[in-house]
Subunit: 334 residues, 2 copies
């Protein structure tokens, strides 16, 4: 059976070594809590609500790579594709909270939800106030009528951007921060496509396999089944369907201002990603949708999965103002 080729040390140490790599990559701007595999930024001030995230490793730079000025404040790292534990979340929260409350902001997966909820209950007993937003941007993961069942994928980056700007620069209190990030979450939609799977470091077996000439529309970032598999076709045809589906879902309409995220899931070439970007631009222009900003690159990956996702976030004046504020993180600078 075909195996992906990986360059690692002990596959049992991936999470710890990723955490140490992040500390070097941040070069003095990040503090680790090694016993709990959690990290937080050295920028956190006493005047802000703290924004904490967490999730499985394997999606780098998501999630911890968006810590920084104008980004999130701390992150608990789970094992690859596995939720962080309540212990990790609680210790990280205690290390960073400053009396202004804490926003938990993470992708909508059952393990993450359970462990963050347990943490919130325990922290509440110690009078640490938290509120929770679960990113639900993947339109392929559940119908619109079950919006709260949808999974979170690359669109969480836009929520981090809004949350970081509102908390750090505009000093929103916890309730107002919750409201604006909830609004952003309601305005974000993503859909992904896979050409090829990825493999967990420990087993090194592909978590799904596609035929030589097959792609999957609507793939999840852990390889969750999408909407359908089909024969390879042209890039333009695939992108047109993705934009159609995204625009129908919110809906996004003529004269809407949007931010666009064209995300490489891992092994796709950036050459193909720019061919995709061209068609995304053409399709949005054809619909009279106004591109306020566009980010193209590797933001939320799935190990070495070959594929990409497209995210749109509809702006109003408040979201646009927050989006336009600066951001200095490993994964995204603006």
């Amino acid at each position: 059976m075909r195996k992906p080729k990986k360059l690692l040390n002990d596959p049992n140490n991936v999470r710890q070594e990723v955490m140490q790599g992040l500390v070097y990559a941040y070069n003095g701007k990040l503090t680790a809590i090694p016993d709990y595999c959690a990290v937080y930024g050295n920028h956190i001030s006493n005047e802000q609500v703290v924004v904490i995230s967490g999730g499985g490793s394997g999606h780098e730079p998501t999630f911890a790579g968006f810590i920084g000025e104008g980004g999130i404040d701390g992150c608990a790292l789970g094992e690859v594709f596995t939720s962080p534990s309540p212990d990790q979340i609680i210790e990280l929260t205690k290390a960073t909270e400053n009396g202004n409350g804490v926003l938990f902001l993470y992708g909508n997966y059952s393990g993450d939800g359970m462990n963050f909820d347990i943490s919130a209950e325990i922290l509440a007993e110690e009078n640490i106030a938290t509120k929770t937003i679960r990113a639900t941007d993947d339109i392929a993961s559940a119908p619109l009528s079950k919006l709260s069942d949808r999974r979170g994928v690359a669109g969480i980056m836009f929520l981090y951007k809004i949350a970081g700007a509102a908390s750090q620069f505009e000093k929103y209190n916890l309730e107002n921060l919750y409201q604006v990030v909830a609004k952003a979450n309601a305005n974000v939609r993503t859909i992904g496509v896979a050409l090829d799977g990825c493999a967990l470091p420990q087993s090194n077996n592909f978590n799904f396999e596609l035929d030589e000439n097959e792609i999957e529309i609507g793939i999840g970032i852990h390889g969750e089944a999408g909407l359908r598999r089909q024969a390879m076709t042209s890039s333009d045809e695939v992108v047109k369907e993705m934009i159609d589906r995204l625009c129908d879902d919110l809906p996004f309409q003529t004269n809407d201002r949007v931010c666009v995220l064209i995300n490489n899931l891992g092994a796709l070439s950036n050459t193909e990603l720019l061919v995709i970007t061209r068609k995304v631009g053409i399709e949005l222009n054809n619909r009279g949708i106004i591109i306020h900003d566009i980010a193209v690159g590797h933001f939320c990956t799935s190990l070495e999965m070959s594929g990409f996702s497209i995210t749109l976030m509809k702006l109003d004046d408040e979201l646009q103002h927050l989006y336009d504020l600066p951001c200095q993180t490993l994964g995204w600078r603006k």
Copy 2:
């Protein structure tokens, strides 16, 4: 025979579609000269020397993705892994030059060198002054005694950074700009490693193949043969050898201040790239080399090649000042 899976339209249109994708990705900050497949930034002022690059497509965001404030000014796009023609370079130069002279800054490949040199001669006849720097950072491509034979790889990004800051912000004249970029070039060293090859869009055959358990030390960004092939080993062992080779070459020594670039060549997971980053940090720390800044991500790719490169640039006060100035490009923001 195994083939890579690509999502494209007509493979003969890749270069044009990448150019159009760049225009959308820059969202109003980039102008295309479609008939010559060249692009330039809308930031160019009349008070600066213009910095022009060019090279084959397939390395995105290199080369054109470093156009912008604090980056380069224009770029001629060759077909995938192919040099741009003199026509492209000449038209781009005429569209952007402003009487202050033009620095040609590109990787040291014979086709690029020939076509830029022809362009420089023709432009000289029209009284447009140019000077040329060829990036020669790949230590695996020729011995130190033949430094000017070395190829340019990911390290060109640091030269772009220095050139953009010196020309746009500090208004260096052509001679002084040439001198400082030549100094930066002399201070930059890169080495790469491949786990797996890549394939040109038109043939879709791998340009080199490695066995299931084999890696290649010293690979070039078009798959040029490296120093040797060997059996897969631990990430730490590979990185240690790379840092040893880099440090021996310049040499980089205790108390040197360096900028570090850890570059994903394409399909390697960012998870592995952070494990690599950890060991780079440890090795440089062990040598007492001071990490001034570190960039981790996809900067100079080789289509879907799986692999990575490590670049070091030694700083002096002038280079550090220029490096620390801001940079707003598609491929790198600071």
